[in-house]
Symmetry: C2
Subunit: 876 residues, 2 copies
């Protein structure tokens, strides 16, 4: 049988899994002799057992808690429920990973009427005791019983108003007594039972409540956002109370060993005198900066400074500490590695290395790669955010800051931008036809669609700020207005601002500052590059993105989606002509008109990226995505093609599919229309010939999408090689190219050993692979995935984080099978997962050669790749 | 280096893979001393090499052919191109499996002007020689050069007309000479070169042509229909000519050792005097029945009879033979196991066992399970088919014969049938809403959709005759008429007939006869049941289908799709109410109204099937399938629900999905709306309680669809068990039930070892598993799969025959993983593949417990399961 409860003196900092972060650190501080109030920790395994046991504490656990309580009583010399010398405790959650504010805390537990009365006499401090008691009642009601805090708070506000005072500290002992009495009344009214007077019952109830709080809604959401498995559970820390509310010689505060916003090496924090912990956070009184403590209580300050240094040196990282001063005596209540902004994280990491406190490898592991994102996009400055008026909040779909005039169609957005305006495109939702307008916009705002909607994916790819799914707004695209929940209306050309990192929409134009890549950042990324073995490429469809990617350190293009090139106004017409062609001859003619454009696209891409490799994926989406759907557009196109509208509508209808995701797309198009693949091959190879004349060397990697059988691949490869070889022969040059395939259909992974015989490379298209392995349509899953999160069936969005258990099994299988027949085959990932740190670690572990992600994620991927290597024993 | 050419004397009947069926049997007949003209076989490996070598015969192969030719010359004492004593040969294809008429043949090869002239003198039979020569020119032009036969045939018809004769036999020697000369002219006109005079060149060209014919369109189609891999290739048989056209003492014919239509044990066949092989088939003259030969040439007949018996005894099966009589001497040109009708196949198999010629195991292997299909449906009688007027031909989607009045809507079809009419439902395509009308129809005719369209799948499931995808017809559903290609118009109530086994549509009502399961059939199926170990269940959603399935030998229901029960008029309203409900309370209320119906469905199903198991699949399709889409229906429903039309339309729009196949369906519905699963569990269990009172014992198997993760399954299972256990406890009865899952999402197969810990059974939903493993939408794949067949990327429809390489890998993996943690888990298949013989053999090999298929396929599955067991060493 496992041991479910540990005294602080029994643990240490390496026992986080069992004791939680807070418990392990309390034990560690105890162990190294810091002034820590005594206590014990109920383990995370007790939490797991609680849930396995249909939300019941087993007898064993209860028995161990009671035994540890006795132990605590004998160490402290105080007794639970003893009116003369009562033991009061705090009960706090503490999971393996810090989840600040997500779970619950109860202070002053152990009080009842009898204890309070006698304790007040003993301490000769009635005000303090009843202040503690009323706090306890309110917290117990809230945390253990789930009764609304507001009933208590409203009463307190009214009481203070009646008394004409502003702060709790202005209330005297008799006020506190009255308030306590009335709080118990309020409790009785809601609960229809008396406030429990048995401290032991109070304690067990509080432990259960903390375990329950592990599965409250905000905790579940926080875990999902932060990759924390629900199976971990939380520990509970039961600790002797020390009192910051004993009077003017007492207080409580929080502080960091360095500035968490800038990384500056200087104690940073704040404190409140005559207060308990929650007062600092709640903002009832304004706390003082920690530096003021130096003048107020110089000895305490000096001691705290020493302890803080000791802790930072001990943990070798910036510490976030809580402390209480009880009658002039300092107690440490918590220490943990502090949260910090991205730039602070980098400065601290670099500083710690130069201070000799950590190795470069350790420093690299200290920064969360995802955090880098905020360093790569222009940001609004602090002041403008503070003063800005939020008019709506949507999903933070693509980070960055955008401010400009709103336009409701892609066309008008484009024109406005071409006139020199900064533009925000506002749409119900975007479609591939909007691509040009999106390209011309500072930011994109959509009312529908989630984090993986068209707008979100394309915007992230472009590094353009996007707020998606902002359902609280109303839009009328025809009449060109946007209405807020409050009824405020914005018309075309009105200005708004979008914060893509928070999802907030502001009225007017907020001021921005360009992201600057500081010297520390550069140093840090250079270490990352030294440490990693996994290459990082970027997904880029045009020279602008390619150059951006290169600036961010991309070592090639892992995915150039050629279809994005077809939406350009000049080409879409010929492309539509191709689709509408009745004969192969007409189709070829239309394709020939597109060839020069496509060739030029590639020339520019090569110029941007050479001599690094460029993976070019052949046409992938179903043809109907390229056809117009609006009456007038159809009419226009029909006239241009000299076809009847009916004929056009018929063709459009005939291309409609029930499940386009699994329809006539990918290599299936090249099989029906080999001439498309032929034209694309010509463009790829002729472009190489062209840039070679300029002295550039490049080996294009032609990628066939959606392959599911060897013969599909062989068929298209044959078109490619026969076309390419002839062109190369004609050119008289020595050129090389590769032909490979996406692995994005489950069957391709299953038969990878057969495909690999023919393929030069595999690129895992984990977006589609995830769709088909789960049978989840990405465009539809939003409707039910929320139920999956709230019912705890899923903890993660499988489209954001690679599902290693299922989809990953296919990736690993395909990698193994592929290498078994073709040891030199190059393996990469080009789905959204290529920019996700945990997925990147997986890619490293299964031995892929590179990941490819959107340009703005390249630095993230570089760091994640370095961390993967270091975690698996890699060194600089 | 392999040996590419075998003399007939070097082979035997076991060398079919190498020599093809015809070659192996010619060798065998030679070996056992039958009068076979001498010759040699170019192997199937030479064909494979020809294709690997970019359609070139390698030098080795050519050298071996020439060497064998020399050998043949020395054996026969005749010389290729020798004017005096020329060797003439036939060149015929011969694949491993018989593909009658699919590939090409050249007779009389070796003739040229010089040879003909001198050969005519030698034989003193000018007519014979030039008759042979003109035949050769035409066949060579057609087979080797691909020139149209019609040019030659037209000339011949005109010549005969001019001469005023009807038959070729009425032409004399000088006619034949003229015709030969003119044929060479026609050849020159088309070819722009002289007819080749070098016999060796003629031979090599002919061999190449036969190899090429392996990949002609009709051969590819035939292989697809008959499961023949394209990798097998064909052999080529080069054989000394014998002449049936030497005069009235010569002839040629084909015969079977038993009647291929009835199985009667009596020589059956026909012959023509003074003719070459192709004349018998071409129908230029009417051949005589083989019995007439007994009077015409009694000695030859007796010899043939003896040889026929010898061959049947030797091959232990009914033989299909070709023979030629040259100047009164009998030659055997071919023998093979004869094609036969299903009833003949069964009679012959049973007879051969009672004659002591084969074992029961051998007899079971002799009948193609697919053939049984035609024995299970009512059929049109021969006479009516012969006299019927075919007005169109579509796909033979579901076998059977239907004759009745046409109706264009499901509603009118239902009403007409309720008035007592026999009805044929004609639709552009059917949708789930048509289910009731389909149920009331004799037959279903659709203009769109393939073999796996809604109409086809549902009709096969019901055992209802269906012709689908009949695109040559035009329909106007509003005005209620149907138009043939020729412009003939059929209105509502006009009568037509459908033959679901041929896809033909006839004018008027053809006469039918009921299928009778003869005594032999029963005997035969009893043997099959003894031999097999794999159980056979049926997919059935209602008592009618369940009873039909039981009659055909089903051992339980493997799939009851509960959603089909919701389309009934009385329930759909409440179901729609459920979908439209705004609160859980309203949803529960609507579901409670459905509960009694659903419970009653199960009671009737149990009554039909007990004590055999019944697998009940919980609600699977997306909800929008249940909502109306037509304006007036929406209005009607809105009124009935006291909702506005707008609200209804909004809800309908909100349920629309981009890829419904991968959308909100299956267990995802139960996760969002647990109350649905709860209601269905109640119906399942309360029905068991009800029938138990009647003394019936049944263990329902509740199946959760579309599971992809363990938690999905656990969530729904928890709803099921908590609901069921309470009901069972209340009932005070001892009941059992099982809870299992479909394995139809690739991820489920990948994590089957985890799911199996919780699941009592797996049922492989190979339809959806195929869709997602390939990424093929079944509803859309029809658009491009044809290109896949013609470009030889696919040889088989993966929805009809289980893709063992890819999808099968997942099935096998899941079976292994499942059993590894839960050795008692029951494993079955319930997709369309459950009725496909080759897929059934796969299921047997990977160790599944049962297959489940539509009722009309149950006997097919029973036989296929027996064959699988026997092929793998099983005995009766």
């Amino acid at each position: 049988m496992p041991k479910y409860v540990y005294m602080f003196s029994e643990g240490n900092k390496n026992m986080k899994e069992l004791l939680g972060g807070k418990g392990a650190n309390l034990a560690e501080m105890t162990r190294i002799g810091l002034p820590v109030p005594r206590g014990f920790t109920v383990t995370t395994e007790a939490c797991t057992s609680y849930y396995e046991n249909r939300e019941k504490l087993g007898e064993n656990i209860e028995r161990e808690i009671i035994a540890s309580l006795k132990n605590l009583e004998s160490i402290t010399g105080k007794m639970f429920g003893d009116p003369k010398n009562p033991l009061l405790v705090s009960v706090r959650s503490g999971a393996r990973a810090s989840m600040p504010g997500m779970m619950d805390t109860v202070l002053n537990l152990g009080l009842n009427d009898e204890v309070a009365e006698s304790f007040a006499k003993e301490t000769n401090n009635e005000r303090f005791v009843y202040d503690s008691y009323r706090r306890f009642i309110q917290m117990y009601a809230d945390v253990v019983k789930g009764y609304p805090k507001s009933s208590f708070e409203r009463y307190l506000d009214e009481y203070k108003e009646k008394k004409g005072v502003h702060f709790d500290t202005d209330l005297d002992a008799s006020d506190m007594k009255t308030i306590t009495k009335d709080f118990k009344k309020i409790y009785f009214e809601i609960a229809q039972e008396e406030f429990p007077i048995n401290p032991q019952e109070q304690l067990l109830e509080a432990v259960r409540a903390v375990f329950r709080s592990w599965n409250n809604e905000r905790a579940i959401y926080y875990r999902r956002m932060n990759d924390i498995p629900s199976s971990w559970g939380t520990a509970v820390n039961v600790q002797e109370m020390v009192y910051g509310n004993l009077g003017e010689n007492s207080g409580t505060g929080v502080a960091f060993t360095r500035n968490p916003a800038t990384g500056e090496k200087k104690l940073y924090g704040e404190y409140l005198m005559n207060a308990q912990g929650e007062d600092v956070v709640a903002g009832i009184r304004t706390p003082s900066p920690i530096s003021k403590l130096e003048t107020d209580m110089p000895d305490v300050y000096k001691e705290f400074e020493t302890l803080a240094n000791k802790l930072e040196n001990h943990y070798k990282d910036m510490q976030d500490m809580e402390f209480t001063i009880e009658n002039g005596k300092l107690f440490m209540l918590q220490t943990r590695n502090g949260k910090r902004t991205a730039s602070a994280a980098i400065k601290i990491a670099v500083d710690l290395v130069s201070e000799g406190k950590v190795t470069k490898e350790e420093a690299l592991l200290r920064v969360d790669p995802k955090q880098l994102d905020s360093l790569l996009h222009p940001m609004f400055n602090e002041a403008s955010l503070k003063n800005g008026k939020v008019i709506a909040t949507g999903l933070a779909a693509s980070p960055g800051a955008a401010a400009g005039a709103i336009y409701f169609t892609a066309k008008e957005a484009t024109e406005a931008n071409q006139r020199g305006e900064k533009v925000i495109l506002v749409r119900l939702e975007t479609s591939p036809e909007d691509i040009e307008g999106m390209n011309h916009s500072e930011g994109i705002l959509t009312l529908r669609g989630g984090m993986t909607s068209h707008a979100a994916v394309v915007a992230r790819g472009m590094g353009t700020c996007c707020v998606s799914g902002c359902g609280e707004l109303t839009i009328n695209e025809e009449e060109k207005w946007l209405k807020t929940k409050e009824g405020q209306i914005f018309h075309e050309k009105d200005e708004i601002s979008l914060d893509g990192s928070t999802g907030k929409v502001y009225e007017g134009k907020l001021e921005k500052e360009e992201a600057s890549i500081s010297g520390d950042f550069e140093t840090f990324m250079a270490w990352a590059d030294e440490a990693r073995t996994l290459k990082v490429r970027a997904n880029a469809d045009n020279p602008r993105d390619a150059l951006q990617a290169k600036k961010f350190g991309a070592e090639g293009i892992g995915l150039c989606r050629t279809e994005h090139m077809f939406f350009d106004k000049e080409r879409i017409f010929n492309f539509r002509k191709m689709i509408m062609a009745d004969t192969e001859e007409d189709r070829v003619k239309a394709l020939e008109a597109i060839l020069p454009y496509q060739r030029n696209d590639f020339i520019e891409l090569y110029r941007a990226m050479a001599p690094n490799p460029v993976v070019i994926r052949f046409l992938d989406p179903p043809l109907h995505e390229f056809l117009p759907h609006k009456k007038e557009e159809i009419k226009e196109l029909a006239e241009a093609l000299s076809k009847s509208e009916e004929a056009l509508e018929e063709r459009i209808a005939s291309l409609k599919e029930f499940n386009p995701m699994m329809g006539h797309r990918g290599c299936r198009l090249a099989i029906t229309y080999p001439e498309i693949a032929k034209m694309q091959t010509r463009a790829v190879i002729e472009a190489v010939i062209e840039v070679k004349k300029e002295g550039l060397e490049i080996t294009p990697e032609i990628m066939i999408p959606l392959v599911g059988s060897t013969k599909e691949f062989a068929f298209v490869k044959n078109i490619v090689t026969s076309t390419a070889d002839e062109l190369i022969k004609e050119s008289g040059m020595a050129l090389s190219y590769e032909v490979g395939t996406m692995i994005e259909v489950p069957r391709a992974a299953l038969i990878a050993d057969k495909i690999a015989k023919e393929a030069d490379f595999f690129s895992f298209g984990t977006n589609d692979l995830t769709q088909m392995t789960y049978g989840f349509s990405r465009d539809d899953a939003g409707k039910f995935l929320n139920d999956y999160y709230t019912k705890q069936i899923f903890e993660q969005d499988p489209f954001a984080r690679l599902d290693q258990e299922g989809v990953g099994q296919l990736v690993e299988m395909a990698a193994k099978k592929g290498r078994s027949v073709n040891p030199n085959i190059s393996l990469g990932v080009c789905g959204e997962h290529g920019g996700d740190p945990s997925s990147i670690e997986f890619c490293y572990r299964v031995g892929l050669d590179y990941v490819s992600c959107s340009p703005f994620r390249v630095p993230i991927a570089r760091l994640a790749a370095a961390q993967a290597a270091i975690k698996n024993g890699g060194q600089l």
